[in-house]
Symmetry: C2
Subunit: 379 residues, 2 copies
């Protein structure tokens, strides 16, 4: 295995540990100051090593996006988890198995049917399952709206099915499409208000609603008043990415992951430099296409991480990336010849990291690979 | 492990063996009739089991997109391979190690520098490396144009560096953006003409040019006259997908892979059905967005594989897909409740399959999972 970045076979995923730690500290300080529990979403990193850095004093609360993640983190000592995807029947059985093994796994649902099937699975296994009611605060995907009359019906179904109501959970998914501080502050307040209102409705109807959970990386960083909120969930804040930069939550200097690539050809007449990182290494994510600055498939830096102004991955096929100067820019193409190495900042850290098996961990100002942290995958 | 499709945890990747075999036979018959060697591109399937079906009488010629693929197929007995991505310095050393181990691995380059670094690596290892000169037939990415004066310089550099010239190789990448038989026939002829012309130029200059290699799935199926061509490369023809359907190379009944998903919620007022397959299971590929019919993130079928008319995956987040009727259609949303299962045909088989660890192999008309074929990944 290569000991330095310069000696790595490409494409390869790099993780800047200093930036990671800074990002982790930023949000955990923010939440500590507001007395809100931070429940990091592990869907971005999918790595026990990253989870341990997010919870330095030992396993703490986490969010997961698949039951395979829940099983993986359970094997590594994490016990307090929320599976934040609406419950399917086969998932209920698997969640209950984790519960039976002593894991405090809270699931997510928004219908009486899901409550009943979870209750049946719990009863069969001899455990009391625990579920959040999903609240839809901005029309983004699943969940009940804050005023949906079904809210009480779902809570009643849980009680009848012998399922513990963990609380309410909402996610301001629409915040990813915003780009001004004012709009982000408003989205955060909207998210808070929906969660707090539904918790109040449930409590008034006699249902205990211990956890009031909100979160998205943009709203987590722009929420000021979190009155009534008990926990915050966020995932991509650990690594950040160009989409988050476009939203205005981070600078490019905060982006902790990058894809190392090697120049494999040039086409001077077209203004192209070809590299060996295509969509297999970068992902097909084009999240910046809808933002003010379209970053193509990524923004290109030199080996030290310094950005080449306006040099982006303009096109990507499976294993080829075409670097070019952003259209409209007067920048010159840098002089990069066969074998030169570059680092590419990703549009969407969750998608790009998922294309790789491990993180090559580096620190700013050093060429040494300090560690290799594996990622888990699958469902 | 589940024995039936109905019992599988979702999301999961299904591979219809009958469709796979039919697709394999279709192109191999076509090439046999033209006396052209078929060198399947394994970048789509990345599976030894699929490679064995493509070459039933034993290991035959294949194309690979990474050196990890080359090493994987070498471990499984394949010896005649082309690595069809422009050569990087670290790749030259690794390719030469395979050559030293008795693998006939041909690499791809388009500059004298790459020829020299390959020669140096070969000399150090005591082997004679073998390389194709990459030809650019349609401005798609790398390679020399058919009339580029550097062609002879590259061939001379190979000879001087002690590298064997395997031949010329081109890829009609622009064919993926076409959609009429006339345009596809013309693209195939353009691809053929560029390869044949450069082979002639090299031969006239005294360079042996044994292999004249072309290929893309669309041109492979629309080329009629292949005079002067010795081999055809194609990959996605094994599985096909919605992009290839939009190009006009296959019907939806030919698409051999699909993603099994479970309904986890409904939003009748919005015309939405939520499933547990998002971009992590489907990929972020939106290749049909630029075609006449935009299929969203995929076209939805029932458990038996029958298409729900105009029902597409309209939106995808990491683990959520939102099914909706295509805009402009008068079709009604099917009545699918929590726990119902659907199969989703992918935009781009290479991208979707790469999100999964294995193929659940099925046959038409049966719920049984006949086999599980692992996929390899990484570089």
């Amino acid at each position: 295995m290569a000991a330095t970045v310069g000696a790595l076979a490409t494409p390869a995923l790099l993780l800047d540990k200093d930036r990671l730690d800074r990002n982790l500290d930023r949000l955990s300080s923010r939440m500590a100051a507001r007395d809100v529990v931070l429940r990091p979403h592990m869907k971005t990193a999918k790595s026990i090593d990253v989870a341990r850095r997010a919870h330095r004093s030992g396993p703490g609360p986490i969010t997961v996006s698949t039951l395979a993640e829940a099983e993986y983190f359970a094997r590594h000592g994490f016990r307090d988890m929320t599976y934040a995807v609406g419950l399917a029947p086969h998932a209920a059985e698997r969640a209950v198995r984790l519960q039976k093994a002593g894991i405090d796994l809270k699931v997510l649902l928004d219908s009486p049917e899901q409550g009943m099937l979870l209750g049946v699975a719990g009863h069969a296994a001899g455990v009391t399952p625990s579920a959040f009611i999903e609240i839809d605060c901005d029309g983004h995907r699943g969940g009940l709206t804050a005023t949906d009359p079904k809210l009480i019906a779902v809570a009643a179904a849980l009680a009848e099915a012998g399922v513990k109501l963990a609380g309410v959970l909402t996610h301001a998914g629409e915040s990813y499409s915003l780009c001004t501080p004012e709009a982000l502050v408003a989205a955060a307040e909207n998210e808070r208000a929906a969660a707090v209102a539904t918790a109040a409705t449930l409590r008034t109807a006699g249902h205990a609603c211990p956890i009031v959970s909100v979160g998205s990386t943009p709203t987590a960083h722009f929420a000021d008043d979190l009155t009534g909120i008990t926990e915050m969930r966020a995932g991509v804040y650990m690594f950040f990415d160009l989409v988050m930069h476009g939203v205005g939550v981070c600078t490019t200097d905060d982006i902790a992951i990058s894809v190392l690539a090697t120049v494999i050809g040039t086409k001077a007449a077209k203004g192209w430099i070809l590299v060996d990182a295509g969509w297999m290494a970068l992902s097909r994510d084009r999240g910046t296409a809808a933002q003010r600055v379209d970053q193509g498939y990524g923004l290109v830096c030199d080996l030290s991480g310094k950005i080449y102004p306006d040099l982006i991955v303009a096109q990507a096929s499976q294993e080829h990336g075409i670097l070019a100067i952003r259209s409209g820019s007067a920048q010159a193409l840098p002089d990069l010849s066969i074998g030169a190495k570059v680092r590419i900042l990703p549009n969407h850290a969750c998608a790009t990291a998922s294309q790789h098996e491990l993180y090559n961990v580096v620190s700013a100002g050093s060429d040494a690979i300090e560690a290799r942290w594996p990622r888990m995958r699958g469902w």
